[in-house]
Symmetry: C2
Subunit: 342 residues, 2 copies
C-alpha cells in the first residue's frame, strides 16, 4: 500500500507532516509513504534509514488562500497536484493533505475522479459519542457540497453505510437522516424527499430522522445531511465543546484555592474528557465517493493527528471499501441498463 | 399590560404554569396575567388574594400530538386559541404558551396575524455567550420556517436587530449571517443571495458572515439564519452541552475518591457553569414579526422558566418594540407606494 502525502500542506508543514509520517512509517511496515514537496525542507525532519518513506521533490505548492480551481488547473507541479496525479496514475493508492481544503476537493474530483454512479462525493468525518456502546459515528456530508439534491443524500447514505461496515466494522449500521424532528413528515423539501429515497434504499438500515440534539448520544451510526447543515452542526459541536472547556477553566481559575485544588484533583477526568472530544484521533475527513481515498486533516494538525490520519488511510485501504463500492455501483449500472434495454 | 397565558400547555401544566405566573404576578404589579384553562385545576395552585391574576375558564385544550392547523381551526374553545383570540381582540397585549409549538405558531399567524410588510415571522431565541462583554446574542429563525427565501432572511435581520436594540438595550447590534465560512463569496445560494440583501439593508449594522464555531464566543449580537439550519445549530448546542455535562459527571463519579473530592470542591464552578448554559433564564422563543408578542417556552418548563418568560414578555411590552416595528414597516410601505406612484 502506497500513500501519497502532500508534505507542504497545512500551517505546520512540512515539519509536523514529516514527523507524523515518520511515526506511522515506523509502526506500519506494510505501507510506503511518498512525501511530495521541497526535498531540502523535508529532509530536515526526516531521520536516516526509514526504508518505507520516499520523497518526490517539487518547488511548487498550493497556498491556503489560493483559488482552488485555478490553483489545481495551473499549478501542475504543486505538491498536492503531483500527489493526486500519482494516485490517478496508480503509482499510489490514496492521498492525504492538511492544505487548502477546496483545492484538495477539486484535485480529488478533477484528477482522481468519481466512482461511476456517484454524482457528488461528500466529506465524511468520524465523531465520538458519549455512549461507549456505540463509540463513534460517521457524519456525511460535512462541507463538500453546500447545495445538495435528494439523490446526493441517498448516495451519502450508501457511502456512509459502506464506510461504517468496512472501515469501522459495524455489521448493520443504523443510518439516520438529520432533520428538525423525528417524525416522518418533518423537514424542508430536501429532507422530505431524501426521507422517501432513503426509505426505499435496500442497501442501508434506515432508522428514520434523527435530531442534532441526540447525535453525541449515538442516535445513529451514520448521519446523513447536506454539506451546509453538516458543516454548521460539526462547527457548532466543536465551538460548544471548546467554549465549555474554556468556561470551565476560567471558572476553576477564578474560584480561589478551593476551586484550584478541585481542578487539580479532577485533572485526570478533565484530560480524559478532552481526549474523548478530540476527534482528530479518528483521523481526518474523507472525501468519499472518489476512485481512491482522498483525506483532509485540519490545517493546524500536528504530528499526532497526522499519524492518526495515516493510520486511518491504512484502515481504509485494508478494508477494500473503495474497490467494493466501485464494483457495487458498476453492477447497479449494468442492472439498470439491462432494465432499460428490456 | 395584560398577558394572556395558556395555562394548560406543556408537560407540567397547569401546576408549573400557575406557580410561575404567581411568582411573576407578585413581583411585577404593573402586569395583569389572564390564565386560560380549567378553573378548578388552576385554582388548586393559585393562592387567594392575588389581584393581578384572572382566570378565564375553558374545558378544551390543544394536546402536544394534535395536528397544529386542524387543532387551531377546530378547537375554538381551546385555552391556547382563546388566549390568542383575546390578543387579537386587544383584550390582552401578548400571549404565552408552553404547549404544542406548531399550534402556537399557527395561532399566531392565523389569529393574531403578521405585521404588514413582514412575509414570515421567525422564531427568535436569546442565547448566552462565554464572553462577558457581549453577554447574550439573538438567533433567528430557529425553527418557524424550514424553508426560507433571501427576503425572509433580510426581514429576520431587521427584526432581530430591533429586538437587540429595544429589548436588550444594545445601541448598535452587530448582525451576522450564519454561513459555512467568513468570506463574502461563501455559502449556498440562499446565504449568498441573503448576503447581498443584508449588505444593502440600511437599518442594520451588518458585519458579514459568521461561523457556527464562533457563536458562543459572541461573534455577533444577532445571528441570522434559516429555520432549518438555526434549529440544527440550536439543538447541537444544547445536545453538546448536555452530553459534556453528563460526561463530566460520569467521569467524576468513576474517578474514585480523588475525583469525588475534586467534584465537591468544584461544585460551585460546575453549578455556575450549568446556570450560565441554562438559557431558559432569558425567557422563551419569540415568534417575532406578528402584531403582538407570541412567546413559546420549553414544554418541560417548570415555574422558574415560566416566571422568566413572563418577565421577558414584560420587557418586550415595555420596550414598545412591536408598535415601533409596525410603524417602521408602515412608513416603509408608504415610501414604496409613493415611489411607485412617481
Amino acid at each position: 500500500m502506497k500513500i501519497a502525502i502532500d508534505a507542504m500542506g497545512g500551517d505546520n508543514a512540512p515539519k509536523e507532516i514529516v514527523e507524523g509520517a515518520v511515526l506511522a512509517a515506523k509502526e506500519f511496515t506494510d505501507i510506503t509513504l511518498v512525501l511530495y514537496g521541497d526535498e531540502q525542507k523535508i529532509k530536515a525532519y526526516l531521520p536516516e534509514g526509514i526504508a518505507n518513506i520516499e520523497i518526490v521533490h517539487t518547488d511548487e505548492q498550493i497556498d491556503s488562500d489560493d483559488d482552488p480551481i485555478k490553483a489545481v488547473r495551473r499549478k501542475k507541479k504543486a505538491s498536492m497536484v503531483m500527489a493526486a496525479t500519482a494516485v490517478k496514475n496508480k503509482e499510489a493508492d490514496a492521498i492525504f493533505s492538511a492544505g487548502n481544503t477546496g483545492a484538495l476537493l477539486t484535485a480529488g474530483l478533477l484528477i482522481i475522479g468519481r466512482i461511476k454512479g456517484i454524482d457528488r462525493p461528500g466529506l465524511l468525518v468520524t465523531l465520538p459519542t458519549i455512549n461507549e456502546e456505540n463509540g463513534t459515528f460517521q457524519m456525511m456530508d460535512v462541507g463538500a457540497n453546500a447545495e445538495c439534491k435528494p439523490q446526493n443524500m441517498n448516495q451519502f447514505a450508501t457511502l456512509g453505510s459502506y464506510y461504517a461496515k468496512f472501515v469501522m466494522g459495524k455489521s448493520n449500521p443504523r443510518v439516520g437522516l438529520l432533520n428538525n424532528g423525528t417524525e416522518e413528515n418533518k423537514g424542508n423539501s430536501l429532507t422530505k424527499e431524501s426521507y422517501a429515497l432513503l426509505s426505499e434504499n435496500q442497501d442501508i438500515n434506515f432508522i428514520g430522522n434523527v435530531e442534532a440534539r441526540d447525535l453525541l448520544q449515538g442516535a445513529a451510526d451514520v448521519v446523513v445531511t447536506d454539506g451546509f447543515t453538516g458543516n454548521a452542526v460539526l462547527k457548532t459541536t466543536e465551538g460548544t465543546a471548546l467554549s465549555l472547556m474554556s468556561l470551565l477553566k476560567t471558572n476553576i481559575l477564578e474560584s480561589g484555592l478551593k476551586g484550584k485544588v478541585g481542578g487539580l484533583l479532577l485533572k485526570e477526568s478533565l484530560t480524559s474528557m478532552k481526549n474523548m472530544l478530540d476527534y482528530s484521533k479518528y483521523g481526518g475527513g474523507v472525501l468519499f465517493g472518489l476512485k481512491a481515498p482522498v483525506i483532509k486533516t485540519h490545517g493546524s494538525a500536528t504530528r499526532e493527528p497526522v499519524y492518526q490520519t495515516i493510520r486511518q488511510i491504512r484502515d481504509i485501504l485494508k478494508s477494500q471499501v473503495v474497490p467494493d463500492l466501485t464494483a457495487y455501483y458498476e453492477e447497479k449500472a449494468e442492472h439498470e441498463s439491462t432494465f432499460i434495454e428490456n
